[in-house]
């Protein structure tokens, strides 16, 4: 059996081969400075944050807000209705989506997201850049280790309307087999593993 760090190393190797960027944060301070320096590479980014509990507890709003950055604020009540009725345009101009992963699979470099915990599907989909936060204890060796866990969740229905497996940034090779990233989904995928 591989140790956590060995699994992380394997995951990072796969992610790099898939043209993702992998980072480690050993403390909250390190995480925040890493995230901020990553966000600094974009001139005046429009950012959307996922609101799963452990991300909320990091209090990112306060820590990443700077005057040149715009954070998309969505109504807390009837979000779904509000988004559908008037905010999709706004949501679709978001350049950077910051969210979490429910699991990661080390042997394939895959992130697994439950729509119940991410509150929907768009943050990992419509922005040009997807920054994914991954607690180290959520790394599993492979798909075979994940499926029994899914089954425990009462037919999987507690996991939301979609379980999304993400293996690298959106890609296509439909024009003369030239590999292009960001066909329709994110062009960049940054994975920050949290070791604190």
């Amino acid at each position: 059996m591989k140790t956590r760090i060995e699994l992380l190393e394997q995951l990072e190797e796969e992610l790099t081969a898939l043209r993702c960027r992998a980072y480690r944060a050993y403390s909250k301070e390190e995480f925040l400075s890493l995230l901020n320096s990553l966000l600094d590479t974009f001139p005046s980014p429009k950012i959307a944050l996922e609101n799963r509990p452990w991300i909320q507890s990091l209090d990112l709003d306060a820590h990443i807000m700077k005057e040149n950055r715009h954070l998309l604020h969505l109504p807390s009540k009837e979000r779904r209705k509000a988004l559908r009725e008037n905010n999709w345009e706004a949501a679709h101009t978001v350049q950077i989506g910051i969210g979490g992963a429910d699991y990661a699979l080390a042997d394939t470099g895959t992130l697994v997201l439950f729509s119940s915990s991410s509150g929907g599907r768009w943050i990992s989909l419509t922005p040009t850049v997807h920054i994914c936060l991954l607690p180290i204890e959520r790394i599993l060796p492979s798909l075979d280790d994940l499926f029994p866990l899914l089954a425990q969740e009462e037919n999987g229905t507690a996991l939301g309307s979609a379980i999304t497996f993400i293996t690298g940034p959106s890609r296509t090779a439909d024009i003369e087999l030239t590999l292009v990233m960001g066909a329709h989904g994110p062009k960049e995928l940054h994975v920050i593993t949290l070791l604190f």
Binding site: S115, R121, D174, I175, G185
Partner: protein, 454 residues
């Protein structure tokens, strides 16, 4: 697309003379084939998984109705509306009915060979519905008013220059001469469509009977966008795509992407478990699942040809086939091409209508050697040839040739004399034989005899 299987010989000949196509096919098939074989070389358990996949499919086909009913029940439990379509017309009608009752004017489509099969787009356009294919390759093919020429690389036959011209002409954008810029043009053009569309239509790679999960596998993200933002998602699947449980799904997922593109997993695998929930930002309000028969039950009832329904639509047999590699997908004149297309076409369209397709194979077996579910394609093609012959699908000359051939093969003297006669014939009537095959100086028998005088 318009079915043109009767014109196979003409179309194939045209393809052979098309230099640009020859170049594109050689490059694409070579590349994709290498990716596949590398993927399996580094994956020793792959061979066992392929055996397992074959066994799972055999089990499903032997009890298809049981699994379909189980799927219906569990999908309904998830809030999915299930509809059974006996044929293409019924499926088109069901979709059109939804469109009319909800006043939908714009539809986006994720990649789906099944909707190509039922001729959905022409029907929607005829009814004044704006419809956009969102997979880049499918989008290119739609703009060019063509049909996909490969299951997983629909625009494999088009050069970058042709695509640049097409985008400039049809979308009114400046000329871009690199793949990245062209991809971004499509991305930008299609992005707003997902948010404006009243319906998203997709195919399905797998449907899990035990819990109703619908699985969509893709690389671009257009499938996710088409099934997340429009208020209604309609998934169209052939009934053979049902699998018993999640354990089986794991087997297929591990071999599907490796067979198709040589990736361990495709970029996105979406497990859809019902419409979007009230506590989620997005996801459709309604999810409809169409279980399409369209001739599949008939194949199922044929014990000899049943394995043609095991197909996962990965495209590996196309890319590997020496015939497909030379003539490309359009020559087959139908939605599915290559060895699997040649196997399915006579069964779906009628033996005589597609009688040339099973003949367009060297029976070399490469297709079977790469098929992730081990469909015995050469055996199936041989059986189809036999049935076509029985139905009178061979010309007098073809029958005469086969008769002479079998007599000669059964007698040593005939076996010796036939190559000599054939060489004479090729010299006397060069017009009757395919061009570009050089004639050697001597027959194999002569060469063998010279090398081994004893």
């Amino acid at each position: 697309m318009k079915t043109k299987t009767e014109q196979f010989k003409t179309l194939a000949e045209k393809a052979l003379g098309n230099e640009a196509l020859q170049e594109a096919l050689a490059r694409a098939c070579g590349h994709i084939g290498r990716m596949r074989s590398n993927a399996f070389q580094n994956f020793p358990e792959g061979e066992t998984l392929r055996d397992q996949a074959h066994r799972i499919k055999t089990g499903v086909m032997d009890n298809l109705e049981v699994y379909l009913q189980r799927l219906e029940t569990s999908a309904r439990r998830l809030g999915i509306k299930v509809h059974r379509s006996p044929d293409a017309a019924d499926a088109r009608q069901y979709i059109l009915g939804l469109i009319r009752s909800r006043n939908i004017s714009l539809v986006v489509k994720g990649k789906s060979m099944t909707t190509e099969e039922i001729g959905l787009n022409p029907e929607l356009i005829k009814n004044q519905v704006e419809v956009w294919e969102t997979d880049l390759g499918e989008f290119i093919v739609q703009l060019a008013e063509e049909s996909p020429s490969h299951i997983i690389a629909p625009a494999i036959h088009k050069s970058q220059k042709e695509i640049a011209e097409l985008f400039a002409k049809k979308l009114g954008v400046p000329w871009h001469d690199n793949a990245e810029d062209l991809t971004m043009v499509a991305r930008k053009f299609l992005r707003e469509k997902y948010f404006r569309a009243g319906m998203g239509i997709s195919g399905i790679n797998f449907a899990v009977a035990e819990n109703g999960t619908l699985v969509i596998v893709e690389n671009e993200g257009n499938g996710r966008l088409s099934t997340t933002f429009p208020p209604i998602h309609v998934a169209v699947m052939g009934i053979e795509k049902v699998i018993p449980g999640m354990k089986d799904l794991a087997v297929f997922l591990k071999i599907l992407a490796r067979s198709a593109t040589g990736q361990k997993f495709s970029t996105y695998m979406s497990f859809l478990q019902g419409p979007g929930r009230t506590d989620e930002d997005d996801g459709p309000e309604e999810l409809h699942l169409i279980l399409l028969d369209n001739g599949r039950s008939k194949i199922l009832a044929d014990p000899e040809l049943k394995p043609s329904l095991y197909c996962l639509r990965c495209g590996a047999c196309l890319t590997a086939c020496p015939v497909y590699r030379r003539i490309g997908g359009h020559a087959y004149g139908w939605v599915y091409s290559g060895p699997i297309g040649a196997t399915l076409a006579p069964q779906y369209l009628g033996l005589l209508r597609a009688k040339d397709l099973p003949m367009a194979s060297t029976l070399c077996g490469t297709c079977a050697s790469v098929c992730p579910v081990r469909i015995p394609l050469p055996d199936l093609l041989l059986k189809l040839r036999q049935r076509i012959q029985e139905q009178g699908g061979m010309t007098y000359y073809e029958k005469a040739f086969i008769k002479v051939w079998s007599v000669a093969q059964n007698h040593p003297s005939g076996y010796r004399v036939l190559p000599v006669l054939a060489r004479k014939g090729m010299k006397l009537f060069p017009g009757l034989f395919p061009k570009g095959i050089p004639l050697s100086e001597e027959t194999f028998h002569q060469w063998w005899h010279d090398e081994n005088p004893d």
